[in-house]
């Protein structure tokens, strides 16, 4: 494979295409709402109308507006249909030549779409994730070529450092610095690991990226492998995501076939292989040392850091671990330059972030916005606020490790530091919206039950502390607790936060601490004097 071949694949793909493409979303949300049948009926309708020469039907990745699915889009006419049913298929095809359409018309100028800035999701809803040709036609693997042929590994790392990209998995560690550490660490072998163990309930950005654009992630990993000197990569994907695993495996096979993975990539000295590791239902495996233990085939229990995986990771070798969304940013940074990327977002948080808007919100789905947008803009502007005339009371970011932010603080800009300041975290990007009907103490209990069940059991504060916190919350919600119990609750939260072994234990009390802080009246109402 060389640049010429890459360009040829892209040209052949463009020549193959019909004038009009009907994009049919086949990601999980739409998939579960009959999208495959819709796609089949659309294909039938095209043949029935004798329009095969003009129109093609393509299964594409996630368009983002999952709450209005199944979604179908006519390209390049830019017409969107929502809540599509299989019976709408003939009229959708007929509408291209002026017929009436029975499907509901979506609005591409809706703030939900108009205010997004897609980088990670640039191909979402546009290309067929199961065909590498479409990814290449969209400019894919050009950045990998460029990195290998026009840049030294140090220059690649520099470019990532200058872009200001920070880890999208939650903690926000500077990506360039992590790459530089791995590159400098001593070891006869290095590994690149993609963390796709998206365990935060209410977060599905990584699933969507893997389902919609798996090659984007593989290209980012390959560029990283070149930069840090790794020859083997692993993508750790949750077992709950069978569709993502299937598409990623197809993408790996295609990339291997086109020599974009394997030996001597682009005729260079770079050898890089990627294998999938399927998770087996343990939230803690999202923690990087637990993830390593799991890839090694063991119980997913974290170990104390340092040493950090960048120095001693998989089998004791230097290991670069980044999350799916982080890797999905890399190709664009190499393609368009660090200056372009660092011009997006805020001073400390560059670029964009994908959020999953869920819960009591009108426009459920995925949005990618520049860092620094306020919570209000996201929840009310893009998300359309609470449905059925309800009032949004709070938004929970960061899953079980995050906190609840009350509506009164919705002018907070979404960046790593600002969210930490109000007692939450960026996390992986889940935003669960609560309205007046949500009881915040019950919600805290829900999260604590989650943490208790998911505690690996290694360290005492997390293993037993979460159980005792849960019991106290049960006592409170049953109306049997006294003020002394609340003091006990606070003290336990502090212990678990300060003394647990890993980040998951340390952040487990966050939902309790943040609800105690912002919704004390809901606790008070339940306490016996």
């Amino acid at each position: 494979m060389d640049l010429h071949e890459l360009q040829q694949i892209a040209r052949r793909e463009r020549e193959r295409r019909r004038r009009i493409r009907i994009h049919c979303c086949t990601s999980l949300g739409c998939h579960a709402s009959n999208a495959i049948e819709i796609k089949r009926r659309l294909e039938e309708a095209v043949i029935a109308a004798g329009l095969e020469g003009e129109i093609e039907v393509a299964g594409v990745g996630c368009m983002g507006f999952c709450g209005h699915g199944p979604m179908v889009e006519i390209d390049p006419e830019n017409i969107l249909y929502e809540y599509v049913s299989p019976d709408d298929a003939p009229s959708i095809v007929a509408s291209i030549h002026g017929g009436a359409c029975t499907a509901g018309r979506g609005d591409k100028n809706h703030p939900f779409f108009a205010r997004q800035y897609p980088i990670v999701r640039k191909n979402g809803g546009k290309i067929d994730p199961e065909r590498i040709e479409e990814y290449i036609a969209a400019g894919g693997y050009r950045s990998l070529y460029r990195a290998i042929n026009e840049m030294t590994p140090a220059e690649v790392i520099d470019e990532i450092t200058r872009s200001g990209l920070r880890g999208r998995g939650g903690a926000g560690y500077p990506t360039g610095l992590k790459w530089a550490t791995v590159a400098k660490s001593r070891g006869d072998r290095r590994f690149v690991v993609c963390n796709g163990d998206e365990g935060d309930p209410g977060a599905f950005m990584d699933r969507s990226v893997l389902e919609s654009d798996p090659h984007l992630v593989l290209e980012g990993m390959s560029i990283a492998a070149y930069a840090v000197g790794a020859d083997q990569g692993y993508v750790y994907v949750r077992g709950e995501y069978p569709l993502a695993i299937e598409r990623l495996q197809k993408a790996i096979n295609q990339a291997k076939k086109h020599s974009l993975l394997g030996s001597q990539i682009f005729d260079s000295a770079l050898d890089f292989r990627v294998d999938i590791r399927v998770g087996a239902g343990a939230f803690v495996c999202g923690e990087e040392t637990a993830l390593i233990a799991s890839i090694e085939g063991g119980r997913g229990q974290p170990r104390p850091r340092p040493p950090y995986p960048a120095e001693s990771g998989l089998w004791g070798k230097p290991t670069l671990i980044n999350n799916v969304e982080t890797f999905a940013n890399i190709a664009s940074i190499i393609e368009r330059g660090s200056a372009w990327y660092s011009g997006i977002g805020t001073e400390s948080s560059r670029g964009t972030k994908v959020f999953a808007l869920t819960g009591k919100i009108c426009n459920t789905g995925l949005v990618e916005v520049p860092m620094g947008m306020t919570l209000r803009e996201i929840v009310e502007g893009l998300g359309g606020g609470a449905p059925d005339g309800g009032t949004v009371k709070a938004v929970q970011t960061g899953g079980p490790s995050g906190g609840c932010i009350p509506a009164s603080l919705f002018d907070t800009p979404v960046d790593y530091e600002s969210l930490a300041k109000v007692g939450s975290i960026m996390g992986s990007g889940g935003m669960v919206v609560m309205d007046e009907a949500t009881n915040m103490v019950e919600l805290a209990k829900f999260y604590m039950e989650f943490c208790m069940d998911e505690s690996c059991g290694k360290c005492i504060p997390c293993r037993v502390g979460t159980v005792q916190i849960y019991r106290l919350l049960e006592k409170i919600t049953a109306g049997e607790a006294t003020p002394a119990d609340v003091d006990q609750l606070r003290a336990l939260c502090q212990l678990v936060r300060d003394t647990s072994l890993c980040g998951l234990g340390q952040s487990a009390p966050n939902p309790v601490i943040s609800t105690l802080k912002y919704f004390p009246e809901e606790y008070d109402a339940l306490i016996k004097p």
């Binding site: 999980l28 949300g29 998939h31 579960a32 709402s33 999952c66 709450g67 699915g69 998206e198 365990g199 935060d200 309930p201 209410g202 977060a203 599905f204 699933r207 969507s208 949750r238 077992g239 709950e240 995501y241 590791r277 399927v278 998770g279 087996a280 239902g281 343990a282 939230f283 799991s294 890839i295 090694e296 085939g297 063991g298 119980r299 997913g300 229990q301 999953a356 869920t358 819960g359 009591k360 459920t364 789905g365 995925l366 929970q396 899953g399 889940g430 669960v432 919206v433 609560m434 949500t438 829900f446 999260y447 989650f450 998911e454 690996c456």
Partner: protein, 179 residues
């Protein structure tokens, strides 16, 4: 176990040395060069083939991968995907992720428990139905979501789910229909 109405959940006990599934499992281990770090991949495969991980199966995996039995057992019980007990012929998994919770997944669980007659994590005595909960399926866009016999469904109401489960319970089992 000699009749044709053997429930699928009892399949494992009838596994013989010449069982084709054992050959497939063997091939999976061989492909992984019997490396101990392939344990989780191998357990995934074993469960896919046999429905659950029996002691015989665990011991044979331990021997092949040169792992202590306690290590294999420790891993098999750490991960919630792995089941050491037989599963029902039908399964219903209700997502209890936050988005589904906020949209009333608890009511779905109550409805399912009512329809099937067992609590989450349990299988009916006759082995026809297993009820389970999931952490988050990532199907938050269509919350609340459930998986019935491997098919994901979104925006589910308790009434729909009850009706669906009751209908499945009333339908003849796959094995009986074959005879």
């Amino acid at each position: 176990m000699e009749t044709s109405s053997v429930s699928p959940h009892m399949r494992d006990t009838s596994a013989s040395i010449n069982d084709n599934r054992l050959k497939i499992l063997e091939a999976t281990m061989k492909r992984n060069q019997y490396r101990p770090d392939a344990l989780i991949e191998v357990l995934h495969k074993a469960q896919e083939l046999f429905g659950f991980l029996s002691p015989t199966l665990l011991i044979s995996v331990a021997r092949s991968l040169h792992l202590p039995p306690s290590r294999v057992y420790g891993v098999a019980t750490f991960y919630h995907f792995f089941s050491l007990a037989p599963q029902g012929e039908h399964t219903c998994t209700i997502c209890l992720g936050t988005a589904c919770y906020v949209r009333g997944a608890n009511n779905l669980m109550v409805a399912a428990e009512g329809a099937i007659g067992v609590s989450a994590g349990k299988t009916t005595a006759d082995g026809t139905f297993s009820l389970a909960s999931a952490r988050c399926l990532g199907a938050c866009g269509i919350a609340p979501a459930v998986i019935v016999d491997g098919v994901v469904a979104g925006n589910v109401t308790p009434r729909d789910l009850s009706a669906r489960l009751v209908a499945l319970l009333a339908s003849p089992s796959k094995d009986e229909s074959r005879t």
